[in-house]
């Protein structure tokens, strides 16, 4: 039997999970939760590229999710764009903004980069909160229907709203995972991982560190933006919380919880942190407490993340 590459194994596992889990759903509500996991998984896959591959931190990526989300609310209304095109526009705006902001910011390292990205995220959420005339302020704004479900219905594929978003987000996640896995083993991905390993050595082999960092930043911003768009389109509503500080922190936590170095780990982390509040609905006040605790515990005891630690243990037992 030919050896399964990490890439095909990851895609296979994801595809099977997406296709098979609905058979175990006790109610239609779980399609919603599933879709949310996939969207979070998509945003976190972007963080994997930035943090897991390239070793750069961002505490402001929710800002790009906010741009993606509000693009779907505003572009159809003001520019008459179809929501699907609004999503593309949002991604483009996020990419351009990431490029412009990233150029100066990514010269910074460690704490300084963390604070600069955090400041960027807060600025975005401040604008979304304060420009009431445009964004509706803290109360949020309505988002038009994507309309793809109706098209599918005409073609004879009749899905409930929950089912449609579950499979749609699942497919987008698969696509995002495929792209991230392509990148991993490509020359650009290698350059990203090289700069994570040693910036000095990267320079001596000719890697333009500033340039590849910027590439990772822009790519991950597009992931966050598309995830933000999907949330907005699915809920047909969006509030500035999507761009908030806590959302940025959640993204990073999901990535490191699952294992920032691998796409499957990221989705795993997104799954756990998305399910946790659902499981704790009775204990909603504990959410922040638990989130903070998870962040600290993972970084102290499982620095490479949950999934790699589990895999290592399994492998250790097998030998």
């Amino acid at each position: 039997m030919p050896k399964l590459t990490v890439k095909s194994a990851t895609l296979l596992v994801l595809a099977v999970l997406i296709a098979v889990t609905p058979f175990f759903f006790p109610s239609g509500y779980y399609y919603r939760v599933g879709a949310l996991i996939f969207v979070n998984g998509l945003a976190v896959t972007g963080i994997v590229i930035l943090t897991g591959y390239a070793g750069q931190i961002s505490l402001g990526h929710a800002g790009f999710a906010g741009i993606g989300g509000y693009a779907c609310a505003l572009a159809p209304e003001y520019l008459g764009l179809h929501p699907a095109l609004a999503m593309v526009l949002g991604a483009a705006v996020s990419a351009v903004l990431a490029y412009l902001v990233g150029r100066p910011i990514l010269r910074l390292k460690g704490y300084y980069l963390a604070v600069a990205t955090l400041g960027f995220g807060i600025l975005v959420s401040m604008v979304l909160n304060n420009e009431r005339d445009l964004t509706g302020g803290p109360d949020g704004i309505a988002v038009p229907e994507l309309g793809l479900r109706g098209v599918l219905k005409d073609w004879g594929l009749n899905l409930s709203n929950g089912q449609f978003w579950y499979f749609f987000c699942g497919i987008v996640l698969l696509l995002g995972a495929w792209i991230a896995l392509n990148l991993y083993q490509s020359p650009t991905g290698r350059a990203l991982r090289a700069l994570h390993g040693s910036e000095v050595a990267s320079g001596t082999v000719g890697i333009d560190v500033a340039r590849v960092k910027l590439q990772a930043f822009v790519i991950s911003a597009v992931y966050a933006s598309v995830a933000g768009s999907l949330v907005a389109l699915q809920n047909k509503f969006i509030t500035p919380d999507v761009a908030g500080f806590m959302h940025s922190i959640e993204m990073v936590t999901m990535a490191v919880l699952g294992g920032a170095g691998s796409v499957l780990g990221a989705v795993f982390g997104a799954g756990i942190l998305t399910l946790l509040p659902q499981a704790l609905t009775v204990l909603a006040e504990y959410e922040q407490l638990v989130l903070g605790l998870v962040m600290m515990l993972v970084m102290i005891f499982l620095r490479e993340g949950l999934l790699p630690s589990i895999l290592r243990r399994l492998r250790g037992r097998g030998e």
Partner: protein, 290 residues
């Protein structure tokens, strides 16, 4: 002119709080090279614990003392339980740990206290004092005075006492400090206690003016960090000056430009400082060794 003076007063008041937070950052940064993003939570805890103890019947000065001591103890606990075990971890891990501590403390404050906005009476009444056509709250003088007293106290501690010098030695070279017999673990404990205590004091002094709630910490942390960075990371004089400057910039932005975006002023300053003079006003440029 009186308008400008008014903005100046309010800028100096919030600036004093930021300066105290920046000093807290500086102490921990110097002792451990860690930027403690939970620094703002100490300010929140100072305010919240004082309010809670005062509401429970303690006289205000005693309530404030309880808050400062409890927060200092929490600072030590964070060092022992979360930052200490991750010594030598990559910066990204340390950032996530201290942010985690910050989120955790916010979550805990929500549970132990509540989600309301709180305050307690000003120390010397609410009758505004008049200066050249502008007014200033007596509490503002407490805050500004507090920042200056803490700064002088720290300066004396670090330059005049053996213990203070031990802390400085540790910050210069941890290994060498250990070799000459300094208990660097104790120095770390002390730094976190001091830093958390100063943060709590800032919360105690500022709450009658700025009010407090479980989620005010992150704002203080960011502006304190902006102040510390503006002054030059690791430099106490810079932290003091930087904190006051951030406060002034914020107040003048609110007064002359836009009160909605006064919060943005601090971040714009952070970004500008980072881009154009990453070593800050009083910092030194360093060369990375390979």
């Amino acid at each position: 002119m009186s308008e400008f003076l008014q903005f100046l007063f309010s800028g100096l008041t919030v600036g004093a709080v930021y300066a105290l937070v920046a000093l807290g950052f500086t102490i921990i940064y110097n002792a451990s090279d860690v930027v403690n993003f939970a620094q703002g939570e100490f300010v929140m805890l100072g305010g919240m614990i004082t309010w809670f103890s005062h509401a429970a019947g303690l006289p205000l000065p005693l309530a404030a003392l309880v808050a400062i001591i409890a927060t200092a103890a929490l600072g030590v606990a964070i060092n022992k339980l979360a930052i200490g075990p991750a010594r030598g971890a990559p910066v990204v891990s340390l950032i996530i740990i201290t942010i985690g501590a910050s989120v955790f403390l916010q979550g805990a404050a929500q549970l132990v206290f509540d989600k309301q906005i709180h305050s307690f009476p000003a120390f010397s009444g609410d009758t505004p004092l008049r200066f050249g056509g502008a007014t200033i709250q007596p509490q503002s003088l407490w805050v500004i005075g507090g920042a200056l007293v803490v700064f002088v106290g720290l300066w004396l501690f670090f330059t005049r006492t053996l213990l203070g010098r031990a802390v400085l030695a540790t910050s210069n070279n941890r290994l060498a400090a250990q070799l000459v017999g300094i208990n660097t673990n104790f120095v770390m404990t002390l730094s976190f206690a001091l830093s958390a205590g100063i943060g709590a004091l800032a919360g105690v002094l500022a709450t009658p003016i700025t009010l407090t709630a479980y989620n005010v910490g992150i704002g203080f942390a960011l502006k304190g960090f902006a102040g510390a960075m503006l002054g030059g990371m690791g430099n106490p004089k810079g932290a003091l000056a930087g904190g006051f400057l951030i406060g002034l910039i914020e107040a003048l932005t609110a007064g002359y430009l836009s009160s909605t975006y006064k919060e943005a002023a601090a971040f714009v300053v952070i970004l500008l400082v980072l881009f154009f003079m990453p070593q800050g006003l009083f910092g030194r440029r360093s060369t990375e060794r390979v």
